[in-house]
């Protein structure tokens, strides 16, 4: 059942440049969607728009629809929007050190959500904070609840931030590169925690990442973004196993293989374009080996591959080529 449906979302800056252009996404209850793309591809911006918390001045949602449980979120007034944030959609961030208040105990920051959204008493909220810390795997939570963020390690801070978000009991958790700042073993623990929460609480998760390895381990479905547009969406096995968009294929080929590989690492030629200089037609065409004149002038639409379950790509020359074993983990 669809929890969040984003259709044709367009976000423009003050100059009218579309930083996010016609993005359509959906997340079901209990589903983990991986939103993949390079820095500046608009993945964070698209997710901020879902909470109507666009960063900085001059950015505005210029078109599209965001429906949460069928209700149009963009039509909400500020007060109703406040009830959506935290309570319906929670968010965790890449850098937990800066996203936690340094002068408030972890316990108080978790309890704040209980008190604010559920009117819990001080004592109840504290008990619930200890319970939440236990749920996210903090050892000795009854003692740790009175610690400040700087007394936690990086991985524990990320767990604490997840607990802070969970305190509001959201249906959907947007995780913006939650493991990028962590070392590999801790990354694994945090990803396991997210999967575990999905299984136990039926939480839907949008996992923003640039790391296909993280996606392969954690997600059910994948959406790939490039230069503000969606290139490819579909089930994890379809997208990673039989990518149809040259950009997705390039990303997969860029992954260093675990056996060390032979020769130089494969890279995608060139740089992603700046927002002010998005090329006409397909935005990937200057870096694409398959580009034709059609690609330089006509913007490709997302087209569903007929034989599949919603595996779609925005490419004039979309072909599926079965990829060398990217799908693992599960």
């Amino acid at each position: 059942m669809t929890l969040l449906q984003v259709s044709n979302l367009t976000i423009e800056d003050r100059l009218g440049t579309a930083l996010v252009d016609g993005v359509t996404l959906s997340v079901d209850r209990g589903e983990i969607l991986g939103l993949v793309g390079e820095s500046g591809s608009g993945k964070t911006l698209a997710c901020r728009a879902m909470m109507r918390l666009l960063p900085g001045d001059g950015l505005a949602i210029r078109g599209g629809e965001i429906r949460l449980n069928g209700a149009d979120v963009l039509a909400y007034d500020d007060k109703r929007m406040m009830a959506v944030r935290g309570r319906e959609i929670g968010m965790i961030f890449q850098n937990p050190a800066s996203h936690l208040n340094p002068v408030m105990t972890i316990g108080k920051q978790i309890a704040e959500g209980r008190r604010w959204h559920f009117g819990a008493s001080r004592r109840e909220a504290r008990q619930q904070a200890i319970e939440l810390l236990r749920q996210v795997g903090i050892p000795d939570p009854a003692r740790r609840v009175d610690n400040y963020p700087h007394e936690f390690s990086g991985g524990m801070r990320q767990r604490a931030m997840i607990a802070v978000a969970l305190a509001c009991e959201p249906k959907l958790l947007i995780a913006d590169e939650p493991t990028t700042a962590l070392d590999v073993t801790v990354q694994m623990q945090v990803l396991h925690l997210l999967r575990d929460l999905r299984d136990r609480l039926g939480l839907a998760v949008i996992l923003i990442t640039h790391d296909l390895g993280v996606v392969a381990q954690t997600c059910d479905r994948i959406a790939v973004m490039y230069a503000g547009r969606l290139c490819e969406t579909g089930g994890k096995r379809q997208v990673l196993g039989a990518p149809r968009h040259p950009y997705t294929r390039g990303l997969i080929e860029c992954q260093p293989s675990s056996d060390g590989g032979v020769g130089r690492m494969v890279t995608i030629q060139g740089q992603p374009p700046l927002a002010q200089r998005f090329p006409a037609g397909c935005r990937f065409h200057p870096r694409c080996g398959r580009a034709t004149t059609e690609c330089t002038s006509i913007q490709p639409e997302m087209r569903v591959d007929p034989g599949t379950d919603n595996h779609a790509a925005a490419c004039h020359h979309a072909v599926s080529v079965t990829n060398r074993g990217m799908v693992h983990g599960q």
Binding site: R85, G90, P102, V103, Y148, C168
Partner: protein, 312 residues
């Protein structure tokens, strides 16, 4: 609680500071030209009378011995007899300290009461008319010299409007409050300008922080985010600035008490310097030094209480 243990060490760390100050003021006050006995007795005094007074107050002893007596008296809780007032300096200070304490506390309280709402308003309505107005006013406040401001305040509130007395200090509490209001206001206007600008900048910086975004993403109201998250973080640098300024202010009472004729320590110090009343100068300066150190200790305590990352 171990983070507060530094309080126990402070008095020990303080001893060398106070020793240095006592030596400095002892030497400085004696290096001003002029002889207290001659000033006390007047120009037509005989050399014998002057010598008698000098002997009576130990001024004919060698300097190092005088300093030794000064220290020995301090150990016994005395500061030496005032040449002019003929009482122990400590008693003199005791009788004059109250107006100064109230002047300083009143000024700081008033300055905070002015600065807190102004900085809050400026930060929350950044770039709007209120912000520009508050910044303009505080810039003007920074530029006005205190003695000029004092005169303008007296002209407006005492002479034109007649709301407050021009100078002096009352005999009961209501009267004292009435007398102290204008001097406190004069100090507070200048001090609040500094505090407002600092707190506004600090608030704006904190508002940019990621934890504010995270708090918004949890659905907290702007009011709650501002008062519970942003304000405590912003107050930390402002409290330390305030402590430095209170240090200046304690010295500044010398000027303010003279302008408003308040019988406090500042005025006592000025008179003592003019009449070369060595003991009183030493005593008052030591008290000022102690007060400054105490203010900084309180500021450190507040910083440690507000910021769990700080260890002293």
């Amino acid at each position: 609680m171990h983070r507060f243990r530094f309080v126990l060490w402070r008095p020990i760390q303080l001893l060398p500071v106070l020793f240095g100050i006592s030596v400095l003021v002892f030497v400085m006050v004696r290096s001003i030209p002029g002889d207290p006995a001659r000033i006390l007795l007047g120009v037509r005094s005989t050399p014998q009378a002057i010598a008698r007074i000098r002997a009576q107050y130990g001024l004919d002893e060698p300097l190092w011995l005088q300093y030794f007596y000064f220290l020995r008296n301090l150990m016994n809780g005395e500061m030496g007899k005032s040449i002019i007032y003929r009482v122990d300096t400590l008693k003199l200070i005791d009788s004059r300290i109250q107006p100064t304490i109230f002047l300083v506390l009143g000024s700081v309280l008033l300055a905070v009461l002015i600065a807190l709402p102004l900085a809050t308003g400026a930060a929350r309505y950044r770039g709007r008319l209120a912000d520009h107005a508050i910044r303009l006013i505080s810039t003007i406040g920074l530029g006005l010299p205190a003695f000029w401001l004092a005169i303008m305040v007296i002209l407006l509130f005492s002479i034109s409007l007649g709301w407050f007395p021009v100078s002096g200090y009352g005999s009961d509490w209501a009267e004292r409050l009435h007398h102290l209001f204008l001097p406190c206001l004069t100090v507070a206007l200048a001090l609040s300008a500094v505090l407002t600008r600092n707190l506004r900048a600090s608030l704006l910086m904190e508002l940019q922080n990621d934890y504010v975004t995270a708090a918004r993403a949890r659905g907290l109201s702007e009011n709650r985010i501002f008062w519970r998250h942003v304000m405590p973080n912003s107050l930390i640098p402002t409290i330390n600035l305030l402590a430095v300024n209170i240090g200046w202010l304690i010295g500044g009472t010398v000027v303010i008490e003279s302008v408003f004729a308040i019988p406090g320590l500042g005025q006592l110090l000025v008179k003592a310097i003019i009449s070369r009343d060595y003991m009183v100068v030493q005593g008052v300066v030591l008290v000022f030094a102690l007060a400054t150190v105490a203010v900084n200790l309180i500021a450190d305590l507040l910083t440690v209480a507000l910021d769990p990352r700080v260890k002293l």
